[in-house]
C-alpha cells in the first residue's frame, strides 16, 4: 500500500508527539523517585534523633539518680522524673515509626525492657540513698547492675540506628538505580524524537522542490499561449478562455506557494520548539544530577551530625559523671597502688611484668631471689636474660604466645640464676590491655617454682620404670616356679605313691601267704609298716590338695552362706549322733566366692569345732557374722579344748598341730587349707582362744 506524503507527515508528527509525551512522563517519574528518597532520609533522621533522645533520657535518669546519691538534694531528681514521664512515650513513637520493620520492633521492645530495668535500678538507688544513706547507695551502685543496663541500652540504641542507616542506604541504592535507568531511557527517547523531526524536515524539502517545477511549466505555457494569439486570432476566444484558465492556474499555484511558505514557517517553529525541548531536557538531566549529589551530601552530613551529636551528649554526660567519680577514684587509686606495690614485693611467688617489646618493667623480690639479679639491674632489659642460653628462642616463643591470646594456659619454663643453675617455673601470665581493650600494654606473670617437684617426678618415673622391669622379671620367675610346682606335684602324685602302695601291697601278700613263718612281734612290725605307709599316703594326699588350692582357678559365684552352713552341719549327722551338741546359726549374708572351696572352709571349721568339743558333756557351737565396712566377718565359736594364744601364729601352718595326736586325731592340714582358700578370696582368718575355754575362729571375705 502506498502512503501519501501527507499521511507520512501526519504519522511522523504523531510519533514525535508521543516521544515528547514519554520524555515528559519519565522526567515526572524521576522527580517522584527523588522525592521518595528525600522522605526516606527524613524518616531515618527521625528514627535516629528519636532513639538518641531516648538514650539521652536514660542518661538523664542515670545522672539524676547519681546526683541525688552524692548530694541528697531532691532538685537533682527533677530530670529523672521528667525523663520517666516521657521516655516510654518516645519509645512508643519510635515503635510506631518503625512498624514496617519487625526486627527493629524486637530491638525496640528490648530497649523498653532495659529502660524499665534501668529506671527501676535508679529508683532503687534513690530509695536506698533516702532510706539507708550514702554508703548503702554506693554499695548498691557498685553492683554494676545499672552500668550493665546502661551499656545494654547504648548497645541496642546504636544497633537500631545502625540498622536504620543500613536500611536507608539500601533503599537509596535502589532509587539511584531507577533514576539512572530513567535517565538512560530519557536520552534514548530524546535521540529518537530528534531523528523523527529530521525526517519531517526532509519530507517538507521534497514537497517544495515539486512546487518549483510546476511554476516553470506554467511560465512555458504563457509563452506558448502568446504564440498561439499571434498565430490564430480566431482562436482568440479560446485563447482568452485559456488566459482565464491560465490565470486560475496561476492563482492556484500562488495559493500553493503561500501554503508551502506557511508550512516552512510552521516547520521552523516546530524545529525551534524541539530544540528548546532538547535544551530543557539536557538542563533537567544536569539539574537532576545536581539534586542527587546534593541529597547524598545532605545525607552524609546528617548522619555525621547525628553521630557527632550523640557523641557530644554522651561525652559531656560522661565527663560530668567522671569528674564526680574521679576525686574518689584518685584517692582510692593511690591507696590501691601502694597496696599493690607492697603486695607485689612481699609475695612469695616470683612476679614479673614486661611491656609488648618484652622489656622487663617490674621484678619483685621473689624473682630477685630466684635469679640473683636486682630489679634495678633488669628493668628495661629483654626477657631473654632470664632464660638458659640454649632455650632462649623456644622460651621467647612460649612467651610470645601469651601476648597473642588474652590469657594463656600455664606454661612450664626454665629460668637461669645469675650463677648458672636452672630453676623450673610454672608461669601463669595475663595481658594488661589498653583502655580500649584492644591492645596489650603489658603482661604480668606469676611463677611457681616446681624444680623440686620436677626432680622428684623424674626420680619417681625412673623408679617406676625399674619397678616395672622388676615386676616383669618377677612375674616370669613366678610363672616358672608355678609350672615347676605343677610338674612337681604331678610327679609326687604318681611316683611317690607307687612305692608306698608296693610296700603296703607286698606286706599284705606277706601276711596272707607267709604269716605262719612270723611270730606275733613280726606280725606287729608288719602292721606298723602298713599303718605308716597309709599315713604317709594321707600326708602326700593332703600336701597335694593344699598345693592344688593355690593352683586351681577360682570359680566365683554368689553363695548363700546360711544354706551352705546348714548342709555342712547335716553332713556331720552321723558323727554327732550319740553326742549332746547344740549348734546355733544366725542369719548369714550372701557372699561371692568359689562354692567348692568355701564349702571346704565351713567343713574344716565346723569339723574342728565338733572335734575339739568331743570331750565336753555338752558341745555348744555358735555360728554368726558381722559386716565391717568393705568386708564380712564370719565366726565359728565353740566351748571346746581351746589353745594357748602364744602358739596362735602356728595354727594355720601346714602340718602344724597344737594338740597331741593321741588326744585329737588329724594331720594338721585343715586350717592351712582354710587360710590358703581365704587368702585366694582376698580375705583372711584368725582365732581367739583360751585353754579349756573354747576357741573362736574368724574369717573375713570382701563385701560384694
Amino acid at each position: 500500500m502506498k502512503i501519501s506524503i501527507r499521511q507520512k507527515l501526519v504519522l511522523l508528527s504523531i510519533i514525535i508527539l508521543a516521544g515528547n509525551g514519554i520524555i515528559g512522563y519519565s522526567v515526572y517519574k524521576s522527580n517522584q523517585t527523588l522525592r521518595n528518597s528525600e522522605k526516606l532520609v527524613q524518616h531515618t533522621e527521625q528514627v535516629i534523633s528519636l532513639s538518641s533522645r531516648i538514650l539521652s533520657l536514660s542518661m538523664d535518669i542515670e545522672t539524676s539518680s547519681r546526683g541525688y546519691v552524692i548530694s541528697a538534694d531532691s532538685a537533682f531528681l527533677e530530670p529523672m522524673i521528667l525523663a520517666k514521664n516521657t521516655v516510654f512515650t518516645s519509645i512508643r513513637k519510635l515503635r510506631n515509626l518503625t512498624k514496617d520493620n519487625p526486627n527493629q520492633q524486637i530491638r525496640i521492645d528490648s530497649l523498653a525492657i532495659y529502660m524499665a530495668k534501668r529506671l527501676e535500678f535508679s529508683v532503687q538507688t534513690v530509695n536506698t540513698r533516702t532510706n539507708q544513706g550514702l554508703a548503702s547507695a554506693i554499695a548498691y551502685i557498685s553492683t554494676q547492675e545499672g552500668k550493665r543496663y546502661s551499656d545494654q541500652l547504648r548497645k541496642i540504641t546504636y544497633s537500631i540506628q545502625g540498622k536504620e542507616k543500613a536500611l536507608l542506604k539500601q533503599r537509596k541504592l535502589t532509587n539511584e538505580k531507577s533514576v539512572i535507568s530513567f535517565n538512560r531511557f530519557f536520552i534514548v527517547m530524546f535521540v529518537l524524537t530528534m531523528l523523527m523531526t529530521f525526517l519531517l524536515l526532509i519530507a517538507f524539502g521534497s514537497i517544495l522542490q515539486k512546487n518549483k517545477e510546476k511554476e516553470k511549466r506554467a511560465e512555458e505555457l504563457v509563452v506558448a499561449n502568446s504564440e498561439l494569439i499571434f498565430q490564430n486570432n480566431e482562436k482568440e476566444k479560446r485563447a482568452s478562455e485559456l488566459v482565464i484558465a491560465n490565470t486560475e492556474l496561476v492563482f492556484q499555484s500562488d495559493e500553493k506557494e503561500k501554503r508551502a511558505a506557511e508550512l516552512v514557517i510552521a516547520n521552523q517553529e516546530l524545529l525551534f520548539q524541539n530544540n528548546e525541548k532538547g535544551k530543557r531536557a539536557a538542563e533537567l538531566v544536569i539539574a537532576n544530577q545536581e539534586l542527587l549529589f546534593q541529597n547524598k551530601e545532605k545525607e552524609k552530613r546528617a548522619a555525621e551530625l547525628v553521630i557527632a551529636n550523640t557523641e557530644l551528649v554522651f561525652q559531656s554526660k560522661e565527663k560530668e559523671r567522671r569528674a564526680s567519680e574521679l576525686i574518689i577514684l584518685n584517692e582510692e587509686r593511690r591507696e590501691t597502688n601502694e597496696y599493690l606495690e607492697n603486695l607485689l614485693d612481699c609475695a612469695n611467688a616470683p612476679i614479673i611484668v614486661w611491656n609488648p617489646q618484652y622489656e622487663i618493667t617490674r621484678f619483685n623480690r621473689a624473682f630477685e631471689a630466684l635469679t640473683g639479679r636486682t630489679e634495678k639491674e633488669v628493668i628495661g632489659k629483654s626477657l631473654k636474660i632470664l632464660f638458659p642460653a640454649n632455650e632462649i628462642e623456644s622460651s621467647m616463643e612460649l612467651i610470645r604466645e601469651t601476648l597473642d591470646g588474652e590469657r594463656m594456659e600455664i606454661v612450664e619454663i626454665k629460668i637461669i640464676h645469675k650463677d648458672g643453675f636452672e630453676r623450673i617455673l610454672l608461669l601463669n601470665s595475663a595481658n594488661i590491655m589498653s583502655p580500649d581493650g584492644k591492645t596489650p600494654i603489658a603482661t604480668i606473670a606469676q611463677g611457681n617454682d616446681i624444680t623440686e617437684r620436677k626432680v622428684a617426678e623424674l626420680e619417681i618415673k625412673k623408679l617406676n620404670e625399674t619397678l616395672e622391669q622388676k615386676v616383669i622379671v618377677r612375674t616370669k620367675q613366678l610363672e616358672d616356679a608355678n609350672k615347676e610346682l605343677e610338674a612337681f606335684s604331678y610327679s609326687i602324685s604318681h611316683d611317690l605313691r607307687a612305692p608306698l602302695r608296693h610296700i603296703g601291697g607286698f606286706i599284705d601278700l606277706l601276711t596272707k601267704n607267709n604269716s605262719a613263718q612270723l611270730d606275733e612281734t613280726g606280725l606287729r612290725y608288719l602292721k606298723i609298716i602298713t599303718d605308716s605307709s597309709i599315713e604317709m599316703g594321707n600326708l602326700i594326699d593332703a600336701l597335694l590338695t593344699f598345693s592344688r588350692l593355690s593352683r586351681t582357678e577360682l570359680q566365683r559365684t554368689t553363695i548363700n552362706s546360711k544354706n551352705m552352713v546348714k548342709r555342712v552341719i547335716d553332713s556331720f549327722s552321723d558323727e554327732t549322733a550319740g553326742r549332746n551338741v547344740e549348734i546355733n546359726v544366725s542369719d548369714l549374708p550372701i557372699v561371692l566366692g568359689d562354692e567348692t572351696l568355701m564349702n571346704q572352709v565351713w567343713f574344716n571349721l565346723i569339723s574342728n569345732a565338733l572335734k575339739y568339743t568331743q570331750k565336753k558333756e555338752k558341745a555348744m557351737i555358735e555360728i554368726g557374722s558381722r559386716t565391717e565396712n568393705d568386708k564380712i566377718v564370719f565366726y565359728v565359736k565353740d566351748n571346746g579344748a581351746g589353745f594357748d594364744m602364744k602358739y596362735a601364729d602356728k595354727l594355720f601352718g601346714v602340718f602344724q598341730r597344737l594338740h597331741k595326736a593321741r588326744d585329737f586325731e588329724g594331720i594338721g592340714i585343715g586350717l592351712a587349707n582354710v587360710s590358703r582358700i581365704l587368702m585366694r578370696h582376698g580375705g583372711e582368718c584368725w582365732a581367739e582362744s583360751e585353754v579349756d575355754k573354747g576357741a573362736t575362729f574368724f574369717f573375713s571375705v570382701p563385701n560384694i
Binding site: 604318681h494 607307687a498 608306698l500 606286706i507 599284705d508 586351681t552
Partner: protein, 147 residues
C-alpha cells in the same frame, strides 16, 4: 565266649603293680584270663596281634589302663582306641596313681568307662581290683566285636 581269648588286658609299666593286680585277680580266679602289656605301644601290638602277640587271638573283655607310662601314655592309648572303629567299643578302665583332676576329666572326655585311683592302702587296692575284674570280665555283657 571263646575260651582262648584272654579277657583282661593289663597295661602297666610297673611290674610290682602288675603283680599286685594279678594277686588280687587270683582271689577271684581270674588270673589266667590276664595278659600284660608293659607300655602303650605293647597294648596296641596286642590289639593288632603283632610283635610278641602275633599268635594271640580275639579282643579283651576289658582293658585296665595305667596313665603314666614311657613312650605312649595311657591317655594316648585311650584316644587311639576310641578313634579306631574296630576297638572303640572295648571297655577301658583307667587304673592310675593320679588323683589329678585334669587326668580324670581328660579320661572321661575321651570315653573311659571308669576311672580308679590306685589306693595306697593295699586292702582297698585289692578290693578295687577284685570288684573291677569281677564286674567287667564276668558280669558285664561285652559288646559285639568283629574279628
Amino acid at each position: 565266649m571263646n575260651a582262648e581269648v584272654k579277657r583282661i588286658l593289663i597295661v602297666d609299666d610297673s611290674p610290682k603293680d602288675v603283680e599286685l593286680t594279678i594277686a588280687a585277680l587270683r582271689e577271684k580266679n581270674l588270673a589266667n584270663e590276664v595278659v600284660v602289656a608293659e607300655d602303650g605301644e605293647e597294648a596296641l601290638d596286642y590289639l593288632y596281634k603283632r610283635g610278641k602277640f602275633v599268635d594271640e587271638k580275639g579282643y579283651p573283655a576289658v582293658i585296665l589302663l595305667d596313665i603314666k607310662m614311657p613312650k605312649m601314655n595311657g591317655i594316648e592309648v585311650l584316644k587311639y582306641i576310641r578313634s579306631t572303629p574296630k576297638f572303640k567299643l572295648i571297655p577301658v578302665i583307667m587304673v592310675t596313681s593320679s588323683r589329678e583332676e585334669k587326668d580324670l576329666v581328660e579320661s572321661y572326655k575321651l570315653g573311659a568307662n571308669s576311672y580308679v585311683v590306685k589306693p595306697v592302702d593295699v586292702v582297698q587296692f585289692i578290693d578295687a581290683i577284685k570288684s573291677l575284674g569281677q564286674y567287667w570280665a564276668v558280669i558285664n555283657q561285652a559288646p559285639p566285636v568283629n574279628i
